[in-house]
Amino acid sequence: MEVTSLGYVGSAAVFIALALALYGLVAGLLGVHRQDARMQTSARYSAVAVFVAMTVAVIVMQVALLTDDFSVSYVAKTSRIASPVWVKVVTMWAALEGSILLWGWLLTGYTALLAVVAPNTTLRPWALVIMQGIQIFFIGVTSIVANPFTVLPFPPLDGPGPNPLLQNHWMMAVHPVLMYLGFVGLAVPFAYAMAALITRRPGVDWMTQTRRWTLAGWLFLTAAIIAGGWWSYEVLGWGGFWAWDPVENVSFLPWLTATAFIHSVQVQERRRMLKSWNVMLVTLTFALTIFGTFLTRSGVVSSVHAFGDGPVGPVFLGFFLVSLAFAFTLIALRWDQVRDTAELDSPVSREGAFLLGNILFLALTFAVLLGTIFPLIVEAISNERVTVGAPFFDQVSVPAFLLIFLLMGIGPLLPWRRAEEQTLRNNLLWLTGMALVFALVAWLFGMNRPYPLITVAVAGWNLASLGLLLAGALVPRVRLSGRGAAAVIRTYIYENRRRFGSMVTHFGIVIIAVGVMAASAYRVDEQARLNLNEPYAFQGYELTAVSLFQESAVGEASSGAVVEVSRGGRLITTLRPHMKQYEGQEMIVPTPGVLYTTWHDIYLNIAGSTEPSQPFVILHLVQSPLVTWIWIGGFILVLGTGYALMPGRAGHRIRAGADKNVVRV
């Protein structure tokens, strides 16, 4: 294998990107300081140029991976000749250096997009400067600290391939990209918030200008977390989808604060309250994304997801502390303009509900953060080793979420400023009534544990709320417009994207909540020894292990069992749970066999040896009710938020015709 020039080209591209980014930062600063429009335009162009340079770097890396160029150090460390093409493509983010390259590239993409698309306001130049600063950090890390393009003078003949868990499922192509899009997307509102502080405009401007960015970032992050859960379910072999693993937790933390944020900005938009709160919240969100990447890449906590420790850790820690310090210094300096001079007519109002919701989200964030770093704290204090795992997080998060879901139901029904007593009472009657009906039905059918019952009740509460919201919006419109109900509904959905989108999103969350509850609380595990050709009864099914098999394909070997799943004597499907090993890697990864149905999944995983001569196989059997509802709910959520993001026809309502006398709900 000769040394090609790809490594040099890639490194050059990254260094050029860094230089351009530095230039962009300086030009932006000068431009805004001297009010020089040409400088500012130059800064904007440089943002695009940075993106182009990083794109070149990414293309070079892909070429190196796809042509098995082992003179590029990252390829030598992470790729393998026998891998299929799609695996080679995703190998780019399968290990530390490549993942930072991906993050940096997406960040430059966002920055370039901001430079090109964002409306020309007072805030934009400063926001661009902040984004340039952030991207200088990431590009700097890629070029200086963790350069994937380092050239190896003596390239090896082949590499080990990526971590086996990262090459046996297509989700590897989706989840990390979504996650980074989410993290990076949340940097934009942060940049604008800082710009607002710097330019002494801490009002609503920075939020209204970034509303879509924030929502899009949130959407990507939510989709990424749900996708990650699905991936975990299909690949790790334990039949679960969320383990409160430290790396999972740190991706969850910014999600919690971002969710709080997208709700509390509405309070600022409507009532001009919570200025300082929102700025701090968006800072916290951004800081948590950096914290998350620090924790994942520093080896400070043990996690199945953590990849790499080394020089990158301290660098990320430094950036995390610096950004926090920078942001809070800025807040302190502008405190007089940012402090809340708020007026609240009544706590029983939309504002009140959002405020309470915020407190709950933040309390949960604190609890999860504390639990995640607690072992470290204990070790620092007393050198004892302790674990904080799923039981702790479950006990803390379930009550918090149930309370949040209660608010999710009543909140949208409360008007701004003050809730009128009679309407409120009617609404509460409906909500409570439906909640009780749901709980009663569940109880009659045998559900008797408190948390599941409460969850079902809360689901009823929320469904009633959504029904009331829709009825409250549609019924007057149908009455007043004289057109058919279908047309009115269509128009309503078309004209109120934000509103309707949020209803759909909340509906999706209710589905997810019920799915999570059922899959956790009513899951049945069994470790069973299936003798060959003898049916084994499991939860109403008959499982028959027909044979054990061993197969190999290019660069991989699997060994497992063929299991027929029947119900009432009728064959439903044949599952092939197996263990897989990739050439060049020692780790053996499970591939469970899963029967998906609407009401539950039957999940089989190998739990013993699969020697072909054995007359039996030991399997871990799992039945999880309603797991698929989680993915379906997630899909509904994505649709809802995506719809809310679509540019609406805001002008339509103003063009009031004679018969368009709609009552605004």
Binding site: L317, L376, A380, E611
Partner: protein
């Protein structure tokens, strides 16, 4: 706020300095009697030691070095000759016991391991890894240094060195 940032910074600096959380966790059984062992002896050592080896019975009042190993474990291969040396030097005074664990169903592999390194100290097969579990194993290799009275003197997780073994033997014999 500055205090919080500083505290977090210090905490994570500490975390970075101490490196990845490893399994070098001090044993919970230090100073306490170690769990009893009764396991089948590997067939290539049957003639010397009989079909079953038991602790504390077969220790006969000697201190014991219990080494948990597995056939697939690379560091175990490096330290096997060192243990053999110790056995040859101190065998009358200190018992060396090898326990093959985390190797379900792989007695044959264990036998070849013993033959490969010409081990003559007793080696038993912990088929279902229960003894390893009882001793609080976090992985292999792990070595337990047991006093003559049956209490745990020291646990070493990870690969052994000749100096470490010498020092431990010295401590056990005093």
């Amino acid at each position: 706020m500055a205090v919080v940032i500083a505290a977090l910074g210090l905490l994570f600096l500490f975390g970075l300095r101490r490196g990845s959380p490893d399994r070098i966790i001090t044993s919970n059984m230090l100073g306490q009697p170690v769990p009893a062992i009764e396991l089948p002896v590997h067939s290539n050592l049957l003639t010397q030691y009989g079909s079953t080896f038991s602790l504390p019975a077969d220790a006969a009042g000697r201190p014991v070095i219990i080494n948990f190993w597995a056939e697939w474990c690379e560091p175990c291969r490096v330290e096997a000759p060192l243990l053999q040396d110790i056995w040859e030097a101190y065998g009358d005074e200190v018992l060396v016991l090898g326990v093959q664990t985390l190797d379900r169903g792989r007695q044959a592999a264990g036998r070849s391991f013993i033959n490969e390194f010409g081990l003559t100290f007793p080696n038993v097969f912990d088929g279902d890894s229960r003894s390893g579990r009882a001793y609080g194993l976090f992985g292999v290799p792990e070595t337990f240094f047991v006093n003559a009275d049956g209490t745990l003197h020291e646990k070493h997780a990870g690969i052994l060195t000749a100096e470490l073994l010498e020092r431990a033997v010295g401590a056990l014999l005093n």
